[in-house]
Symmetry: C2
Subunit: 276 residues, 2 copies
């Protein structure tokens, strides 16, 4: 493998800004890697759209990143991972393609002792059944119930991340979900949408201290590191990695909304607008 | 004008299903007209996207309706009306193009006695300033304050239209908005997004009985009737008008979510999927 190849960025794709929580975990674990993040902000959200539309959009976004020259593609969007990972893997073979669903499912199986796992996600992710199927394939006796919580996305984007309103909404979504498991409730709750970790405090308060919250950002970063190592694609540079952004809607809005998700200020001059 | 022309449908365009509240008002007033409704459900919502993207999408949607053969274009989406009405009018001249912002602004000016008018809408509609500008041009001494209420869209789509949660969210948006007017508050509140009339009960409860709620569905229908009459384009048939739908995302989802907004069941077989 040439030095040049290792120096290529890792492409990270999301429907909008939510995947920046995954990018943050990737940067923490792999500080010398270069990253090129694409947010399809002109067509966000994917979570309420059909599988056909999401696959089409994912292939357009993946294609744009591949044309920029990337050494790996990370699908940092649960909905896109859930419905389009096979199409993306086939389209860009032999490029390694990593989604967030499988690492999240693995983390849930590791965390759960009683095998009762609740999953909250977008409508499309729940309908696609990817979490349910992936967890089942790893832990065949697990009882998994998934529920769509679309208002959590709006709350995260509005910045209403704590207080009475978000707790009331969390209770309205989660209490009936937990009750569906019967007398002994779930011990694990998968945050199956990259927006949801922003509301972790309120969700944890409603879930109580007997339920472990799992999100896929950290486990996805571990998977990416393992695959880069196996393929000898780790960047050997000692310098801090470069970070660049592409957005399909305006650069200003991406920078303004995205900063809260990435945890550091994004300068709109570092964001390039593209048309897919 | 030939009989054939009058028989053509009125094209109604919205970013998704919210415009079906406008279609309902149009059907009530003009029961013999044929309507062709296009919901750009693959890219909904427009309200959080840049003006450039919204104009591009509106021209693609308008173009698709014009190619189907329509006698008038109604832009039943506040965001698209607010930012793209001039582009659409120029592109399809001499086709009459009617938006929802001007009729809504007119209704607000008629309703207000004290000239203090509050407007709630999506982020893009508020930022574009179309309501503020249009009301000002009709009522130069009016005091207008507009505020984005993006979570109302999610609540309407989730069907959480009444009860404590929606009232708490309405209070959090509206009370600071009303307070901005000073000691004597507004007497008129414009529901500047087609999703908001679905939450009218909860909004009215927070606003109290001194504030008149205005939405543009009915006034837009009156404007459409007036223009059709002036242009001798009224359909003289005595039969009930035909209704057909186009959606850019799946027909099934359009039918399922849209029925609540239209007020009657939509059969997914009456919805044709198109790509813009």
């Amino acid at each position: 493998m040439s030095v040049n190849k290792c120096d290529q960025p890792i492409g990270v794709f999301d429907s909008g800004v939510g995947g920046l929580t995954v990018l943050r975990a990737l940067q923490d674990l792999l500080p010398h890697e270069n990253f090129l993040y694409l947010g399809d902000t002109a067509r966000v959200p994917y979570g309420t759209k059909s599988a056909e539309s999401v696959i089409k959009y994912a292939l357009q976004a993946g294609g744009a990143l591949v044309r920029e020259g990337i050494k790996m593609l990370v699908v940092a969007c649960n909905t896109a991972s859930a419905v389009s990972i096979d199409s993306l893997t086939a389209a860009y073979n032999p490029l390694p393609v990593v989604g967030v669903v499988k690492p999240g499912a693995e983390a849930a199986c590791l965390a759960s002792k009683n095998g009762k796992i609740a999953v909250i996600a977008t409508e499309s992710t729940v309908k696609g059944g990817a979490y349910q199927g992936t967890i089942c394939s790893m832990h065949s006796s697990a009882k998994i119930i998934a529920k769509a919580c679309p208002l959590f996305v709006g709350l995260a984007e509005e910045g209403w991340t704590e207080g009475e309103i978000v707790e009331a909404i969390a209770a309205r979504y989660l209490k009936p979900l937990f009750a569906e498991f019967g007398k002994e409730g779930p011990d694990t709750l998968v945050l199956g949408c990259t927006h949801f970790p922003v509301l972790r405090g309120a969700i944890a308060k409603v879930a109580g201290d007997k339920i472990t919250l799992v999100d896929s950002a950290e486990t996805t970063a571990n998977t990416v590191k393992r695959i880069l190592t196996e393929l000898s694609l780790i960047n050997s540079s000692d310098a801090a990695g470069r970070l660049s952004f592409l957005a399909t809607d305006s650069a200003e809005r991406f920078a303004a909304v995205g900063s809260a998700f990435l945890g550091v200020e994004i300068n709109s001059e570092d964001v390039r607008s593209i048309d897919l």
